[in-house]
């Protein structure tokens, strides 16, 4: 299985009826970051990223602050196809229910709570893990 090339950006932009994703800075290393622009708006709403896992090149993770449903849905479908991923995952802190609702709305399936999964500011935090597979599209 050829490893996906994580630096392939969506060119020139990725868009659907709801949202537009534009390259944000230079793609590089194991991932890329895109600006999220809602259609009809001139200013970015925020950004969203993708990072291929270091020890499993068939899996990528959505990097996010607040999960923007339309942006995640658009980017996820593109990345699964274009990068040939076996699994796209998205983790949110257990107390961020807004992002969890948005992830599910974008088609991701909730898998469970992974305890002490991440470290933020020196504190271990529990994360809810979501996934989207090529067969879910």
């Amino acid at each position: 299985m050829p490893a996906p090339n994580p630096v392939t950006p969506p060119e020139p932009v990725l868009r659907d009826d709801a949202v537009e994703l534009r390259p944000w800075g230079m793609p590089g290393g194991d991932g890329l970051t895109l600006a999220v622009i809602e259609r009809g708006s001139a200013t970015p709403r925020g950004h969203i990223g993708l990072r291929v896992l270091e020890d499993d090149r068939e899996v990528a993770e959505v990097v996010h602050d607040d999960v923007h449903t339309a942006a995640v849905r658009l980017l996820a479908a593109w990345a699964l196809r274009r990068w040939g991923l076996a699994r796209l995952q998205l983790a949110t802190p257990v107390d961020d229910t807004a992002s969890q609702d948005a992830a599910e709305e974008a088609g991701f399936r909730r898998e469970g709570v992974l305890r002490s999964w991440s470290e933020v500011d020196g504190r271990r935090i529990d994360m809810v893990m979501f996934s989207l597979l090529p067969g879910d599209l």
């Binding site: 076996a86 399936r109 898998e111 470290e119 271990r124």
Partner: protein, 183 residues
């Protein structure tokens, strides 16, 4: 750079099991265990598995220790020194997490050896490795391994879909964890 791992001295043991380092003379046993149909089905060992695979794996162990990547042990039944199973821990660098894997030879199953080995290795890992979380994964259709995890105090967290590559096929796995302070 990560902290090198120092093997436990004396070897980890309780009333049921002991964990000792692997030796050159164990290679035929490693080959036999790795060719077991259940081990093949539930782990990512190479297939076919030969003495050269075991030799290379064994030769890599000192470098893994020096780099702080992980440690591998033979499961024995003291005072008998013969390997009856394998258990190992792998550090996921930069994450504060380590992952454990284990398997037993068919004739050694069903008498608590894996559970004892997992308890011993878990306690040692949480004490000596730079991690706050230990995790392990089992196949959905491997209830024996799930019982081992649960008896050793691990908590079942999730079924992770297409979580790992096993010789070219993505497999769903159940994730278990044990945190600092839970032993």
């Amino acid at each position: 750079m990560s902290t090198p791992i120092t093997l436990p001295e004396p070897m980890l043991r309780d009333a049921t099991a002991g964990l000792r380092p692997w030796r050159e003379a164990d290679i035929p046993v490693v080959v036999a265990m790795s060719r077991d149909p259940d081990v093949l089905r539930f782990t990512n060992v190479p297939d076919p598995y030969g003495e050269d695979d075991a030799g290379i794996w064994l030769a890599l162990q000192p470098a893994r220790l020096r780099a702080g990547d992980g440690a591998a042990f033979a499961i024995v039944e003291p005072p008998d020194d013969r390997p009856l199973g394998a258990i190992g821990v792998r550090v996921l660098h930069g994450r504060g997490i380590a992952e454990i894997g284990y398997h037993l030879a068919p004739e050694a199953r069903g008498r608590g050896l894996a559970t004892a080995a997992l308890r011993l290795l878990s306690a040692w890992s949480l004490r000596t490795l730079p991690v706050a979380r230990l995790q392990l994964t089992t196949h959905l259709d491997n209830p024996a391994s799930q019982r081992v995890a649960e008896k050793a105090g691990y908590t079942r967290e999730a079924v992770l879909r297409a979580w790992a590559d096993q010789r070219g096929t993505r497999v769903d796995l159940i994730m278990y964890s044990l945190l600092t302070g839970e032993l």
